[in-house]
């Protein structure tokens, strides 16, 4: 069982660069064919200042902080036992290529189901851009298969 003392564990703020090439690669990887996600001219023609980051990339940028791997290592949970349970994004402002996004991630809950056969780690993150604007709130729930 994961020690509940880890509830409240907070990853110190880390700032991640949103690289244009990364966004283009991500668009290719998910089969995104809308040109606003890979072509700056198309993005501008659609009213964006440059290439926008697609809806789920906040998760990916946050992964760069290593919070998930640091948290499960601190809890003694092997990588091979985890599954992704659920994921939530609450959007406040767009993320664009060239932004610098600062993430703070907190373990907000740990609980068990099925007599401890499954444990759940709930992590809440805030993402703030270089202008201090909150762009997205993210919740990740990780399932541990014991």
């Amino acid at each position: 069982m994961i020690d509940p003392k880890h509830i409240g564990r907070t990853t110190p703020p880390q700032t991640i660069d949103v690289e244009k090439g990364r966004l283009k690669f991500f668009a290719k990887a998910i089969g995104e064919t809308d040109p606003i996600y890979s072509d700056e001219a198309a993005a501008k023609a659609a009213g964006h200042k440059t290439i926008p980051a697609p809806p789920t990339i906040g998760f990916c940028l946050e992964m760069e902080t290593n919070s998930l791997w640091d948290n499960i290592a601190a809890m003694g949970v092997p990588v091979g036992k985890i599954l992704h349970g659920s994921q939530t994004f609450t959007y406040h402002a767009p993320i664009y290529a060239g932004d610098q996004i600062t993430f703070v991630t907190k373990v907000s809950d740990i609980y068990a189901k099925k007599g401890g056969a499954l444990e759940f780690i709930v992590e809440d993150s805030t993402a703030t851009n270089q202008d201090g604007v909150l762009v997205v709130e993210i919740q990740r729930v990780i399932v541990v298969r014991n």
Partner: protein, 138 residues
């Protein structure tokens, strides 16, 4: 162009997206592009040692497909929230079919918002992920 709030009705099914079958290449590209380097998705030796038959897809790849299905319906700037529960593991060779159904229309914070229930299944209709998106329209 975003659809107009007035033209949308509860029960409408405005979203459908079908992907190609997920291959090992799909997962390798997603691993690199997403930054999720969990070996369970790309390294069959690791997956077998962890008790799995094979590597399996990142849940967030399926959610990214659901995101594509939403932003092919409304511009991303309309998106207010988006959540997904992962209900089953997606295996190599499966296609993902994303659908969405309008379940609610209401004004919140001075905006006209539409809630869509989202579902991602394989080609047999087996659920892989379910969730919701809320979009603001005019």
């Amino acid at each position: 162009m975003a659809p107009s709030y007035a033209d949308i009705n509860v029960g409408d099914e405005p979203i459908r997206l079908e992907t190609d079958p997920i291959s090992r290449t799909t997962l390798a590209l997603y691993c690199g592009a997403s930054g999720d380097h969990n070996p369970m998705h790309i390294d069959i030796d690791y997956a077998k040692a962890a008790g799995e038959k094979d590597v399996f897809a990142h849940g967030m790849l399926v959610m990214a497909y659901l995101g594509r299905s939403v932003t092919s319906w409304v511009p991303q700037t309309a998106l207010r929230s988006f959540n997904t529960r992962f209900t089953a593991i997606t295996r190599i060779g499966e296609k993902i079919i994303c659908t969405g159904k309008v379940v609610e229309k209401k004004e919140v914070d001075g905006e006209k918002r539409v809630k869509v229930e989202l579902l991602a299944t394989n080609e047999k209709g087996e659920s892989k992920a379910a969730g919701e998106a809320v979009v603001a329209l005019s």
